[in-house]
Symmetry: C2
Subunit: 275 residues, 2 copies
Amino acid sequence: MATSLVAFQGERGSFSEEAAYKLLGRGIRVLPCETFTALFESVASGRARYCLVPIENTLAGSVYENFDLLLANNLHIVREVSLRIVHNLIALPGTARKDVRQVYSHPVALAQCGRFFAKNPKVKRITYYDTAGSVKMLAERQPPGAAAIASRIAAEVYHANILATHLEDHRENYTRFLLLTKTARVSPKANKVSIVFSTPNSPGALYKCLSVFALRDIDLTKMESRPLRGRPWEYFFYLDFVGNVKDDKCKKALAHLSEVTNFLRVLGCYESAKR
Amino acid sequence: MATSLVAFQGERGSFSEEAAYKLLGRGIRVLPCETFTALFESVASGRARYCLVPIENTLAGSVYENFDLLLANNLHIVREVSLRIVHNLIALPGTARKDVRQVYSHPVALAQCGRFFAKNPKVKRITYYDTAGSVKMLAERQPPGAAAIASRIAAEVYHANILATHLEDHRENYTRFLLLTKTARVSPKANKVSIVFSTPNSPGALYKCLSVFALRDIDLTKMESRPLRGRPWEYFFYLDFVGNVKDDKCKKALAHLSEVTNFLRVLGCYESAKR
């Protein structure tokens, strides 16, 4: 995997890029994409071998657009990584902490650093389209007295300095990412399965689906629902469970599930992220 | 309810205002609020008697922020209404359909009218912060050759004309709204219950919760999950089911559910929207 091209969404220096290095090491080549749609397309078209997709944050919840894109694209989940989101105060060389008068970042990052701004009431928050993009802007335009809030990788990419770290209010701030590629493969270490299904519109349908797992003592780790377009008030369900699709128990559970669903697709079987 | 003050999010003329009239008639007084947080606050503070909150759209999915606000605020769901989202092309008197060169609207509304723009390639899309707000802007600034995409109520409020209707690509585009107030009440016609709960972090916990309903043939209509802040990878579950909290079967189901959950709150019991 070392020299593969790995696509991510956002500017160079994003948290997605940090997660890619955590999962695959520093030897990879990276391809920034502007939107999540372009991110999935980069792999579907063969331009990149892998893409790393944020799927869930422990404060903000699921990245719902990416659940929809998992269904719309025929890519396979092959790895997972969980990254602790550490917000850093970043400025260009020559700007000291005491000089900082404005801080640029994405509105979600600014909102997650409320205590820092409460303690520094003279520092103005300025919303920007991207965390790493705000460091890039500092490097390009060099506004005086300006800093940004972004990942430590952003400081490295744009040759800037970290003036302070752990600006985030909540330490329990993690984002989970999925690594996708065109060809399904199941490692022997794989211990987690992601599926998507829809049920007949009848009472107890979802309960029947979950019984497939409960009756076999299979542990569910996450469930999500998304609307079924064109069928108002019906849903696709996304489920993660503990297991390996090559194990007998898991094979039987999926066969049983296919009896009680209208539609069923395995999105991937992969090694669960260390948490 | 006729002369009660009903708060909604957005500018005058929003789809929320249209939904309020559908549910409560034209006799109500309305209070526009800038954000969803301010919307909940308007009722919590006693400024408005009711607020009408969009909770789910059949194309875009749940309005997740409002699930979080239902939990954070101690308001009660007393009614529900489902509104078909019809996008209209709206311009000021004096601007004919053939004069339209730019169309302003919220990016979601513009995205939902893709076929209209494909058929009219010379018409430029311009994103604006709000659907009704774009009609308000036309009335204030009178830009030449401009139109907006918004609700029919927006045309009425800003004395503009509807040049074309049903611009939306998908006819099956509905938004479901909840009416909230400070005091819980259950009408005899109530046939739907909304609850929120969290489960112990043990295998099969969610299955046990759903069995409470399945064993009593109680039909679930919607399930949603949101992250439990400070407890990574744990969730609050939001559930809607058919029933009335004063019925014996429903009382027993809720008592049973409280045995297998850590936390349980009834958000409201109300008459289900006609669909």
